[in-house]
């Protein structure tokens, strides 16, 4: 049963990821990325990361993709969008990487961690609470730095996208 669920999520994620790259209309790319984000959130739920699944839906599907759609439609990007002519370089880079990975996974048999136990819901019983405790104790300083990053990104986006009014603004 669990394998069936994983197979469904993994299959949809892989197919929609390829559609994001293959579809030529950017609006369709963004929409298939949306489907992928929903299924990644489902995968998180099966991994007992419910809080992250919710955050994935709210932040990625809710905020980031809407921003993308907004820009795609603002710029009216339905122009001729052929693939870049360096696709041979892409194949040259990626096919050996994929082969290496397959060899690695086929050769090295991965033992389950001794720490792992099947359905122990130790720290995962209340996922949001556990993450909050970790985030605000062990990772308090990175959390503050993350807020600084968001502030910098906000100021940068405003400065970059601002129209120069009357030529007097910086």
């Amino acid at each position: 049963m669990a394998q069936l669920v994983f197979g469904y999520f993994a299959g949809v994620i892989a197919v929609t990821a390829m559609l994001v790259v293959a579809l030529r209309n950017p609006v369709y790319s963004v929409l298939s990325l949306l489907i992928m984000f929903f299924h990644v959130a489902g995968l998180y739920v099966t991994l007992h990361a419910e809080f992250l699944a919710a955050v994935q839906l709210i932040v990625y599907a809710g905020a980031i993709l809407v921003l993308y759609l907004f820009v795609v439609m603002l710029l009216n990007a339905k122009q001729d969008d052929r693939y870049h002519r360096q696709w041979r370089v892409a194949g040259f880079v990626c096919v050996p990487l994929l082969l290496e990975l397959l060899v690695l996974f086929a050769g090295g048999k991965m033992e389950p961690s001794p720490l792992f136990s099947a359905d122990q819901t130790g720290p995962g019983t209340d996922n949001a609470k556990a993450i909050g405790m970790t985030l605000f104790s062990t990772y308090l300083f990175p959390f503050e730095v993350a807020s600084l990053i968001l502030l910098v990104a906000m100021i940068g986006a405003i400065v970059l996208a601002k129209r120069d009014i009357g030529g007097s603004g910086a």
């Binding site: 892989a14 990821a17 990625y60 905020a63 969008d81 696709w87 389950p112 130790g122 986006a157």
Partner: protein
Amino acid sequence: MTIPITYYLILSAVVFLTGVVGVLIRRNIIAILLSVELMLNATNINFVAFSRYLEDLGGQVFVFFALTVAAAEVAVGLAIIIALHRSKESINLEDFKLLKW
């Protein structure tokens, strides 16, 4: 033990490589940013899978930070795209070769 972690790693590798291919072959800047999102999601899947299998919440907290950085990247990247479109009337990557040698 239901699903070996190898499956998650393979899924993540496939998604990541799809992102790499997208960055290399697309000519639309927005599609390239979307491919970067694909790569970030692939790493996030890895983090969550390992966090589950090692019983350590650090991985999930790291995904949280990766999400923050992704949001910042999207904001700045889309602002740059809008500024580019305003100056060149194009979002085709091959039209921007001022810094190319």
